[in-house]
Point group: C2
Chain length 80, copies 2
Protein backbone atom coordinates (compact mmCIF):
# COMPACT_ATOMS: atom_id res chain seq x y z
CA UNK A 1 0.00 0.00 0.00
CA UNK A 2 1.32 3.41 -0.97
CA UNK A 3 1.02 6.20 1.57
CA UNK A 4 1.61 9.82 0.62
CA UNK A 5 2.94 12.21 3.22
CA UNK A 6 4.01 15.81 3.12
CA UNK A 7 6.38 17.55 5.48
CA UNK A 8 6.22 21.32 5.66
CA UNK A 9 7.94 24.00 7.70
CA UNK A 10 5.82 25.34 10.53
CA UNK A 11 4.04 28.60 9.87
CA UNK A 12 6.37 30.77 11.88
CA UNK A 13 9.55 29.30 10.45
CA UNK A 14 11.16 31.30 7.66
CA UNK A 15 11.31 29.54 4.31
CA UNK A 16 14.15 31.10 2.29
CA UNK A 17 13.86 28.42 -0.39
CA UNK A 18 10.23 29.30 -1.01
CA UNK A 19 11.14 32.98 -1.07
CA UNK A 20 13.68 32.40 -3.81
CA UNK A 21 11.17 30.45 -5.86
CA UNK A 22 8.69 33.27 -5.44
CA UNK A 23 11.22 35.85 -6.61
CA UNK A 24 12.13 33.70 -9.60
CA UNK A 25 8.45 33.43 -10.52
CA UNK A 26 8.06 37.19 -10.18
CA UNK A 27 10.99 37.67 -12.52
CA UNK A 28 9.21 35.46 -15.04
CA UNK A 29 6.08 37.58 -14.95
CA UNK A 30 4.03 35.77 -12.32
CA UNK A 31 3.48 38.82 -10.18
CA UNK A 32 0.30 37.85 -8.40
CA UNK A 33 1.97 35.25 -6.19
CA UNK A 34 1.58 36.27 -2.56
CA UNK A 35 3.69 33.55 -1.00
CA UNK A 36 5.28 30.23 -1.78
CA UNK A 37 6.30 27.70 0.82
CA UNK A 38 8.20 24.61 -0.11
CA UNK A 39 8.08 21.26 1.60
CA UNK A 40 8.94 17.64 1.06
CA UNK A 41 6.75 14.91 -0.31
CA UNK A 42 7.19 11.22 0.41
CA UNK A 43 5.55 8.29 -1.29
CA UNK A 44 6.00 5.37 1.07
CA UNK A 45 5.29 1.89 -0.23
CA UNK A 46 4.59 -0.20 2.85
CA UNK A 47 4.20 -3.98 2.76
CA UNK A 48 0.85 -3.85 4.54
CA UNK A 49 -2.66 -4.21 3.16
CA UNK A 50 -4.61 -2.70 6.02
CA UNK A 51 -5.01 1.02 5.33
CA UNK A 52 -5.19 2.03 8.98
CA UNK A 53 -2.08 0.07 9.89
CA UNK A 54 -0.13 1.36 6.89
CA UNK A 55 -1.01 4.96 7.73
CA UNK A 56 -0.04 4.38 11.33
CA UNK A 57 3.35 3.06 10.21
CA UNK A 58 3.87 6.04 7.90
CA UNK A 59 2.97 8.40 10.71
CA UNK A 60 5.54 6.76 12.93
CA UNK A 61 8.19 7.12 10.21
CA UNK A 62 7.39 10.81 9.86
CA UNK A 63 7.70 11.32 13.59
CA UNK A 64 10.94 9.39 13.92
CA UNK A 65 12.83 10.32 10.78
CA UNK A 66 11.13 12.18 7.97
CA UNK A 67 10.04 15.29 9.83
CA UNK A 68 11.92 17.40 12.32
CA UNK A 69 9.04 18.17 14.64
CA UNK A 70 10.77 21.15 16.19
CA UNK A 71 10.41 23.16 12.99
CA UNK A 72 8.27 20.99 10.74
CA UNK A 73 4.74 19.61 10.55
CA UNK A 74 3.71 16.51 8.65
CA UNK A 75 0.48 15.30 7.16
CA UNK A 76 -0.58 11.98 5.70
CA UNK A 77 -2.51 13.04 2.62
CA UNK A 78 -3.63 9.80 1.06
CA UNK A 79 -3.16 6.14 0.40
CA UNK A 80 -3.70 3.77 -2.47
Amino acid sequence: MKISAIVTLKKDVLDPQGKVVQQALKGMGFDNVKEIRQGKYFEIDVDENDKKKAEKKAEEMCKKLLANLVIEDFKIIGSQ
Copy 2:
Protein backbone atom coordinates in the same frame (compact mmCIF):
# COMPACT_ATOMS: atom_id res chain seq x y z
CA MET B 1 -6.19 31.18 -2.77
CA LYS B 2 -3.68 28.54 -1.78
CA ILE B 3 -2.85 25.86 -4.30
CA SER B 4 -0.93 22.73 -3.33
CA ALA B 5 1.26 21.06 -5.90
CA ILE B 6 3.62 18.14 -5.78
CA VAL B 7 6.52 17.45 -8.09
CA THR B 8 7.81 13.89 -8.27
CA LEU B 9 10.45 12.09 -10.26
CA LYS B 10 9.04 10.05 -13.14
CA LYS B 11 8.64 6.35 -12.49
CA ASP B 12 11.65 5.24 -14.46
CA VAL B 13 14.01 7.81 -12.99
CA LEU B 14 16.22 6.58 -10.16
CA ASP B 15 15.63 8.25 -6.81
CA PRO B 16 18.83 7.89 -4.74
CA GLN B 17 17.48 10.25 -2.09
CA GLY B 18 14.46 8.05 -1.52
CA LYS B 19 16.71 5.00 -1.43
CA VAL B 20 18.81 6.50 1.35
CA VAL B 21 15.70 7.33 3.35
CA GLN B 22 14.50 3.76 2.91
CA GLN B 23 17.81 2.36 4.13
CA ALA B 24 17.77 4.68 7.12
CA LEU B 25 14.26 3.52 7.99
CA LYS B 26 15.35 -0.08 7.64
CA GLY B 27 18.19 0.58 10.04
CA MET B 28 15.66 1.94 12.51
CA GLY B 29 13.59 -1.23 12.39
CA PHE B 30 11.03 -0.34 9.73
CA ASP B 31 11.75 -3.36 7.58
CA ASN B 32 8.47 -3.67 5.74
CA VAL B 33 9.05 -0.63 3.56
CA LYS B 34 9.13 -1.70 -0.08
CA GLU B 35 10.07 1.62 -1.60
CA ILE B 36 10.24 5.29 -0.80
CA ARG B 37 10.26 8.02 -3.39
CA GLN B 38 10.80 11.59 -2.45
CA GLY B 39 9.43 14.65 -4.16
CA LYS B 40 8.83 18.33 -3.64
CA TYR B 41 5.75 20.00 -2.29
CA PHE B 42 4.75 23.58 -3.03
CA GLU B 43 2.08 25.66 -1.36
CA ILE B 44 1.41 28.53 -3.72
CA ASP B 45 -0.60 31.46 -2.43
CA VAL B 46 -2.00 33.14 -5.55
CA ASP B 47 -3.81 36.47 -5.47
CA GLU B 48 -6.83 35.08 -7.30
CA ASN B 49 -10.23 34.07 -5.97
CA ASP B 50 -11.40 31.94 -8.86
CA LYS B 51 -10.35 28.34 -8.17
CA LYS B 52 -10.06 27.35 -11.83
CA LYS B 53 -7.93 30.36 -12.68
CA ALA B 54 -5.69 29.90 -9.66
CA GLU B 55 -5.10 26.25 -10.49
CA LYS B 56 -4.37 27.17 -14.08
CA LYS B 57 -1.77 29.67 -12.91
CA ALA B 58 -0.19 27.12 -10.59
CA GLU B 59 -0.06 24.60 -13.41
CA GLU B 60 1.72 27.11 -15.59
CA MET B 61 4.25 27.79 -12.82
CA CYS B 62 4.93 24.07 -12.48
CA LYS B 63 5.47 23.73 -16.20
CA LYS B 64 7.73 26.74 -16.50
CA LEU B 65 9.78 26.62 -13.31
CA LEU B 66 8.88 24.24 -10.52
CA ALA B 67 9.09 20.94 -12.39
CA ASN B 68 11.68 19.71 -14.86
CA LEU B 69 9.33 17.92 -17.22
CA VAL B 70 12.11 15.82 -18.73
CA ILE B 71 12.49 13.81 -15.54
CA GLU B 72 9.64 15.00 -13.32
CA ASP B 73 5.86 14.93 -13.18
CA PHE B 74 3.71 17.40 -11.31
CA LYS B 75 0.23 17.28 -9.89
CA ILE B 76 -2.06 19.93 -8.45
CA ILE B 77 -3.48 18.20 -5.40
CA GLY B 78 -5.77 20.74 -3.87
CA SER B 79 -6.75 24.30 -3.19
CA GLN B 80 -8.20 26.25 -0.34
